[in-house]
């Protein structure tokens, strides 16, 4: 059992090779956080019926059903997704109100009493995690169960996972565990097993994955730069163009 201390960075290592798609994590998340059911129904494109992360589904077990054109070959991949609690979090940097903050556990949390529902963070998230809740008028996402962490408990989803596909802990220690697991799989001949969520993805993810296919197959970007890195150069370029356009237009009034 991980001893949870403020000032350390916590997250999840999600080993997708162990996920069986039971969705216990989804249920535990909804139950602990008091999130309503969304009337899930047959999607017509997957056996998964959650569809995507939303303002009231902070966990989503994605099913990836792969078939060859003649249907002679098939494979089923599963991955439990949630907020990645990025080291360089686009949503946090975008938020104009200061509603999105970094907590003492390194997680990224939306303060519901500050958010005004501008939805800029929704556009800034490279993982499609942050979602707008029509009922509350604010955005919402996984909190890494900050309330449980303050009480010394691990998040509800990892506590409920029956296969240890979702492992909670201090991020540095989780990476060691993940590298050992990857080496074990490679030794078994599963050479496609790769870790996803290093520094090339949003500065490093506190919630990272072991995948057996390209990230895009799981709906994840291969790389993600912090969008706000573009702000200064873009303002400089726009300023230079503003000066040029101003001079040209001024000349028309002479």
């Amino acid at each position: 059992m991980t001893q949870i201390q403020p000032g350390k960075t916590y997250g999840f290592f999600t080993d997708t090779t162990l996920c069986i798609g039971c969705k216990a994590c989804e249920v535990a998340c909804k139950q602990w956080n008091g999130l309503p059911a969304e009337g899930f129904a047959f999607l017509g494109r997957s056996y998964d019926n959650t569809g995507e992360l939303s303002a009231t589904s902070w966990r989503h077990v994605r099913f990836v059903e792969q078939f060859s054109a003649d249907r002679s070959e098939a494979r089923w991949l599963m991955m439990s997704a949630c907020c990645k609690h990025c080291t360089e979090a686009g949503c946090l940097e975008a938020c104009p109100t200061g509603a999105i903050v970094r907590t003492e556990f390194g997680s990224v949390v939306v303060q519901q009493d500050v958010c005004n529902g501008c939805r800029y963070c929704v556009a800034a998230c490279p993982f499609g995690v942050v979602a707008f809740n029509e009922a509350s008028g604010t955005v919402a996402k996984c909190t890494l169960c900050s309330d449980r962490l303050r009480g010394g408990l691990q998040p509800a989803c990892s506590a409920a996972c029956p296969t240890a596909s979702i492992q909670f802990g201090e991020v540095e220690e989780l990476w060691q565990r993940a590298r050992a697991r990857q080496a074990h799989l490679h030794a078994q001949g599963r050479s496609r097993a790769a870790l996803y969520g290093g520094p090339e993805v949003a500065g490093g993810l506190n919630v990272f994955y072991l995948l057996e296919d390209r990230p895009e197959v799981y709906g994840l970007p291969a790389a993600a730069a912090l969008p706000q890195r573009r702000v200064v150069p873009d303002f400089v370029l726009t300023g230079i163009v503003a000066l040029l356009l101003g001079v040209v237009l001024y000349a028309t009034f002479l």
């Binding site: 070959e73 200061g98 707008f132 356009l245 101003g246 028309t252």
Partner: protein, 300 residues
């Protein structure tokens, strides 16, 4: 699933935001036009100066109202600049003084401050030209105009930077979105000033405003071409252009033709319609789907 793509969510900004982009751009362009006419023309272009300052203040106020109405919780609009709980850990370089906060790397935070201050300048210029003409004399009007025009240029371009600083493929693909929004703001502003000056019955500036509109439309067309080229592979997400072609034809080329024929009002109206369509198309591009891809199944 046969097709998988990267998960993204669009902010689902609807018509209030489209109209805000259009109206705030028009306000910025009108203010810049009025100031340039003030600086370059002496008293010769007074109709353009009066029309520009008449438009800028109400339009920027309308833009702020639209922004507030679009919020999930409009009553919390002040949280954009003021919040008791916005203290530590809210982002790079965040400045907090008491309850006031400013996030230099969040274009929406910078924009909330920029639009508010520009709104104050626009109102002051409106007062000096329309309500208390002559008060403070030309030096005060020029000083206000120059400072206000700098803020107006920011207000005209920052929304492009705001869209760029997101994870949405079409918005994020090209650094020319800021300059393009600025050019679109200037053309909308000149068009609105031209139309208003004419409606006010003053055609002393008509020729120069027609020239300015032609130049603004050409510059916007140039920046639009650069942006479309710079989009690269993401250009495919715009689909078979369709409305873009209407926007380019009816919003840029046709007005230029009307200007050549001396029809300033018609050209201005079409330019404004083109400006509105442009904002709508760019915002809608956030939800544009990726081209279809089949993922291969690796052999077990």
């Amino acid at each position: 699933m046969a097709e998988q793509g990267v998960d993204l969510k669009a902010p689902h900004w609807g018509w209030p935001i489209v109209l805000d982009f259009f109206v705030s751009g028009m306000a910025a362009g009108a203010y810049v036009t009025a100031t340039l006419a003030l600086l370059a023309g002496g008293g010769r272009d007074a109709p353009a100066v009066r029309a520009g300052y008449l438009l800028a203040s109400p339009l920027i106020s309308l833009s702020l109202v639209l922004l507030i109405l679009d919020l999930g919780l409009p009553r919390r609009f002040l949280h954009m600049i003021l919040s008791r709980k916005a203290t530590g850990g809210i982002g790079w370089g965040a400045l907090t003084v008491g309850d006031i906060h400013f996030k230099p790397f969040s274009p929406m935070s910078v924009g909330a401050w920029g639009l508010s201050i520009f709104g104050a300048f626009a109102f002051a210029s409106l007062v000096l030209v329309w309500i208390a003409p002559g008060w403070g004399g030309r030096p005060l009007l020029v000083l206000l105009g120059v400072l206000g025009a700098s803020l107006a240029l920011f207000a005209g371009g920052y929304k492009g930077v705001l869209l760029r600083a997101t994870a949405q493929p079409v918005w994020a693909a090209s650094r020319w979105l800021g300059p393009l929004f600025l050019a679109a703001s200037l053309s909308s502003g000149v068009a609105a000033v031209g139309l208003t000056a004419n409606l006010l019955g003053a055609d002393a500036s008509a020729q120069r405003l027609a020239g300015a509109l032609a130049v603004a439309l050409v510059l916007e067309g140039l920046l639009l071409a650069i942006w479309l080229w710079d989009l690269g592979a993401e250009r495919k997400r715009l689909g078979r252009l369709g409305l873009w072609e209407v926007r380019i034809g009816a919003g840029l080329f046709l007005p230029l033709g009307f200007l050549a024929a001396g029809w300033l009002n018609a050209a201005a109206l079409l330019a404004l319609l083109g400006g509105l369509t442009f904002r709508r198309l760019v915002i809608a591009a956030a939800t544009a789907p990726a081209p279809h891809r089949e993922l291969p199944v690796p052999r077990p």
